[in-house]
Each structure stands twice: as structure tokens, then as C-alpha cells.
Symmetry: none
Subunit: 203 residues, 4 copies
DNA sequence: AATGAATGAGCTTTCATTCAT
DNA sequence: GATGAATGAAAGCTCATTCAT
């Protein structure tokens, strides 16, 4: 049985992520989560005594599962072991690779991005455990390029900012097809990477 | 009396915008709005029979007040009457100018960006009345540059996407100073504009 | 102007009667009455400081206008001046005549019959000012018939009861045509009167 | 414990019937019902998500419990197995018997009679599930008498109408003793039955 | 006299949370 | 461990009533 492969706690968390993503934390009832998770309402409170604790549960899951995937997993391979690859290839590989992951974890990211605005305890974790490692890894890529003299001098945060902004927009362009008819997922990413690299390449 | 300069309806809308921005639509009670607006709770329902209608009220206000300012106001002056100005000057002027406006209307934009995710009726208006005029104006700037041979050929949506993404990130970088220590508002925008222009400029 | 032929107070009372009849006292808002009466909501409270007072106003109107019509008007003519007419003719004439009036004042009667159940102050007036004169007039008809030896001896209240019961049912039979398909208004009343008269006639 | 013999749902329905009968549907608060039923207000809404649903619950209870008792239970015994009894005995037995039941279920009948006026969904059920079986059973009694040549020819609906009207009035005469001083319950019914039977008997 | 915006008490309804089973 | 009936505080909403104009 598929159901039994996950623990009750995981089923609840997973259900919460999906419904929070759809309706927002405050727009979701514990009843809905219980139904989706296939448990009784009371069971939720055995694992998460307050509804708020579900958000924390989600956040912890994100920190444990998602951040390593985005910030860590394979990063060395992509950035360091590829001396022979061009910056363009590296950047595009990286963006595609990470966007893939972002889209796999879209719901959880959506929930966190939304709820971080309203819950200061979550905000703290966000700015301490999630943003820094991700920002760090991207900053390093650009800093490295500058150090090696291939990129012009900018504050790395600027470049990371543009890249993340571009990544966000690429997701939106994909989700709302009307905005960029005709453009494929690949084209969007590649063109954005081109603009960014042209923008920072020395000459 | 300051209070009497605005209508009751406007005071309610304004209060709703501010609290919705802080706590989200579902996290806000009509009682809170009433207190902030300085009216009785029942008064809210004279103007907005359902709490939902406050959201529509906000959206209509945005469409009437904000969109023209961002998409329309002064656009001709900036883009057309400035033949003698460089693209860089134009783009930076435009970005600064619009970001100023976005920040003036930050709360209302924040509310709409958040709630558009959960309310399909709002989503419709958003994609019909708000996004198209704004996207149109920026698309045109880039299309014009391409037509005149100053910019390389990209799908305008790509460039608009990068610019908007950059604009969003510039706001975030400003709001969370830790992310870009040392960088001023001006520097952020100018550097981003530089990267973007370098990225698309022919040679 | 038709509107000006009635006083504001009368327009309000009339509107109240009609909406109370449709929706019941507690199901009706003063706003609805105001709209139907063509006045501002506040105006109602100039004439009827409490919503309850509207009910009293209606009751007083009924006592002044309706009761005399049902209990008094033309009664002498029907019952006394018609020595040459048969009991059957008299009874049928009377029933048709009064049912006509009841149906003309249907709304007001409906309101009183419904609200008398819930408002003890109205109940008092009902049992003091409305029921006695009406019951008196009918009782007297039967008592007279008994005294003259044409009717068997029953308690007059019994006969009045049957007659009123029959009258009520005749109205219902008319209103819900499914209950008595094919029967006309006249047939219903005449057959009911027949049964009643046969039931009480000596031999 | 008496309380545990009934389900929560039944206690709520019973409380609702009693208070609705006293104050009318719109005059009753869910709080009052909760107190009378001995449950929390929220509990009512577990069983009846809208206040309206309480009315439906009451109606369904009436259809299930009351209609069979009035229209069905013992009808065969009274009408058919009593060939040796006179029509008078049968009619009086029937009327006493049913009036007993009506008075046992007085509150629920009162509620339905009142609310059927204002709620069209209830009206539908009323005219489909409640009226027809009851009317049918009485109609048949009279039709049978006519067929056997003991009663004169009338439209059965007329006779049923008179009988029901008489039944209603007999209840009112009992409840408001002033209207028929001195008359006992039995006398009222017997005299009314007499009038009716005399009225329709052949010769 | 008449208006209708404003009020706030009180209503119906929701839902996180508890707890006996 | 799991259930789901029950809770009650608090939410959205209604509406009779007031009052400045």
C-alpha cells in the first residue's frame, strides 16, 4: 500500500503543503488537511499541537530536504569540476538544474514565500537557514568569475539578484503561457542566461 | 479635520490595504480594519457587503489609480521626447521613476500579488487590466530599441521579464538590507540597468 | 400623484402589511419596508419608534377598518331585512360576502393570524377587539335560527366554529387549486354551506 | 441518564421544534436552541450546517414520524374492520384518535404550518409528502360512504375540507377556553361530527 | 418633516483545539 | 496511536435604531 510507505506525519505534512500552496495558510482548515492526508482531524494535533506547528514542520522539511538540493547537491560538480566548460554552459546548466528542483518543490517554496511575510518566526529561519546558503552558492559563482577576470566587477548580490529575478520570471513566464507565447522553457532560460552573461562578460 | 477630507469609503479601503499588506487577507479581521479606519464594524458592510468586496475595491482602486501611474503617466516624456538621451539614461530614469511609484503603492501591490494567487476573480482582472498595459509599455521600449538596431534580437517578453525580475529584486535588496550591505538604492538600480543594457546592447 | 393621496404613515403601514404577509414580521427588515413605501428608512421611525409599533399600527388599522367591515357592515341587511329569504340564501350570501372581504384584506389578516402567536400584546387585542365582535355576529345568526326552531340545538360556538373552519378551508382550497381541481369558488362555498345547513336543519 | 437515550441530533431537533413553535423560526436564535438542547452552539452546526437545515430536519422528522401516524397507523382498523360500527362511531373514533395525535405533535405541526408560508422548499415537501397522504385517507373515507350510498354526492375535497376545518377549530376551541365555555373536548368533537354527518347523510 | 450615513448589539457561522473512547 | 464528537472563542455579517443635516 502506497499509504503505508509514508509515516502519518509525512502524509500530514505533504497534505498541508499542497493545500497551503493552493489556499494559503489562513485559508486552509485543519479539516481539509486531515481529509487530504487521510487521517482524522484529531490526529493532526497529535503531531502538530498547534496549526502553526505545521508551518514550522514544513519549513524544517524545506531546510532539510530542499535547501541541500538547491544549494548543495551537485554544486561542486557543476561549478568546479567543469573547468573545461564555458561560463555559458555552466550557468545554463545550473539554472536549468535548479529550476527543475524549484519546480519539483514548487508548492513548498510557494508556501514559504507567502507565509514568510506574515510569520516572524518563519522569517527568522528563512533569513538564517534558507537564504544564506543559496545566496552564498550563487554569489560564489559570480565572485569566482570576477576573481578570474572573466566577469566585470559588480557587487555579487547584484548579479545574484538579477539571476534570481530572472529565474523567478522564467517560472512565471512558463506558468502563464499567455505572457510569452511561442517561447519554450529552454528558450526562456537560455535567452535570459545569454543576456545576463553578455551583461557581465568582460568585452 | 484630516478625517473629513477623505470619504468613509476611502478610509476603509486605505485601512484594508494597509492591514491586508501586513497580515494577508485571511489573517485580517473586519474588526481590525474598522478600528484602523476609525469607523464601526457595521459601516464597512455598508460599503462592502462581503469582506471579499474589499479586495475588489482595492483592485479597482489599483486599476484606476496605480496602473495609469505606472503604465501611462509620463511615459511619452521618458521614452519618446528623449531622443538626445542615451538608452542608459532612459532606462535608469524609467526604472527609478517606476520603482518610486511602486514603492509609493507598495502595500496595494503587495496585497494584489499575494491575493491574486487565491482568488480567481481577482486573477482575471489582474491578467486583463493590470499586467497587459504594464507589460505593453515595457515591451515597446525594448522592441523599439531592437527596431532601431541598438539592441540585439530577443523576444521582448524575455527582456521585460528580466527587467521586472530585476526591479523586484532591487526592491527586496532595499528592504532587507542584510542582503546587499553597503549598496545604496541608486547603486542597485544603476548596476542592474548596466548589466541589462550591456547584456542586450549590440556590441 | 397617486403617492400623495395617502399619507406617509399610511404608505408605510401598507408596505409593512404586504411584506410582513410575504415574509413574516421577523423575516422583514425595516429597509425593505422603507423601499416599498418609498420613504427613507429613518422616516419609518418618525412614525413608529420601534419596529414592534408597526405591528400595533397594523392591528389598529385592522380593528378600525376591517372588523367593522366583516362584523358590522351590512349585517343587518343580510340577516334581518331578509325575512323572506331562505336560511340557505342568507348563509351563502353571508359567507360569500364575508369571504370577499377576507380576501380583500388577506394580507393584513395573514399577518395578524401569524403574529398573534408570538406577541402577547397583540394576542390581547385580538381576543378583545377582533374575535368577539366577529364571533358575536355569527353566533347570533345561529342562535336566532335555533330560537326560531329552524335549527337543532347546538352550542352556537360549535356552529360558528364549523362555519369559520369551512370558510378558512374554502380559502385554502381556492388558493391551492391542486387540492380541489375543477371546483369553482362558488361551488366550494355553496357545497360547504349545504352540508352545514343540512347538518343543522331540523329534519 | 435520560440525556443519553437520545442522540445529540435528536436533542437538537427537539429543542428546535419547541422553540420554533414558541417564537417562530426567525424569532429563535441558535443560541437558544443550543441552551435548550444542552449542547454548545457550535455543535448545532455539526449536524445542521445552516440554520435553515434545522427546518428541513424538522420536516423530515415530521414526514417520517408524524405522517405515518396520522395517515397510516390503524387506519385500516378504524375504517375497514368496523363494518358493524356506525359511520358516526367511525368518524368520531377517527377524529378523536387523530386529534390526539395532532395534539401530541402540536409543536411540530405548528412550526410547519407557520414556516411553510415563508420557505418555498418546505412548501414543496409539504404539498408532496404531507398533504397528499393525509388528504387521501380522509377523501377515501367519504368516497367510500358515497359509493355505498350512505352519503350524498359531494366532491370529497369539500367534505375533507369541512372535516379538517372542524378539526382545526376544535383544537382552537380547546386551547382558548373562553371561546367555548363549558364545552368539553369530547362534546366539541362529537357535536362537530354530528353536524357533519347529518349534513351529508342521505336522509 | 425627511433623510440616509453611521452605529453596535447580537446574530449565524467557522474552526482550531480538546478529550473520552 | 487514532478517532471524531464536542467545544467555544471569535469571525463575518445583519439590522433596528440614532442623529446630524
Amino acid at each position: 500500500m502506497d499509504t503505508k510507505l509514508e509515516t502519518t506525519e509525512e502524509r500530514i505534512i505533504q497534505a498541508a503543503i499542497e493545500i497551503f500552496a493552493q489556499k494559503g495558510y489562513n485559508g486552509t482548515t485543519t479539516k481539509e488537511i486531515a481529509v487530504k492526508a487521510g487521517v482524522a482531524e484529531g490526529t493532526i494535533f497529535r503531531y502538530f499541537p498547534k496549526k502553526q506547528d505545521l508551518l514550522h514542520g514544513i519549513l524544517y522539511k524545506a531546510i532539510e530536504v530542499m535547501v541541500p538540493k538547491i544549494a548543495g547537491h551537485g554544486i561542486v560538480e557543476i561549478f568546479d569540476h567543469n573547468v573545461e566548460k564555458s561560463d555559458r554552459e555552466i550557468l545554463i546548466t545550473f539554472m536549468k538544474n535548479r529550476l527543475e528542483m524549484i519546480q519539483q518543490h514548487f508548492s513548498i517554496i510557494k508556501v514559504i514565500l507567502n507565509e514568510v511575510q506574515y510569520h516572524s518566526d518563519i522569517e527568522d529561519l528563512w533569513f538564517q537557514k534558507i537564504i544564506p546558503p543559496i545566496k552564498g552558492i550563487i554569489d560564489r559563482f559570480f565572485a569566482e568569475g570576477m576573481r578570474k577576470g572573466r566577469f566585470r566587477q559588480y557587487h555579487p548580490s547584484i548579479l545574484t539578484g538579477i539571476m534570481v529575478g530572472a529565474a523567478i520570471m522564467s517560472i512565471l513566464l512558463q506558468r502563464y503561457e499567455d505572457l510569452a507565447e511561442g517561447l519554450t522553457k529552454e528558450e526562456i532560460i537560455e535567452q535570459m542566461a545569454d543576456v545576463l552573461l553578455n551583461g557581465i562578460a568582460k568585452k
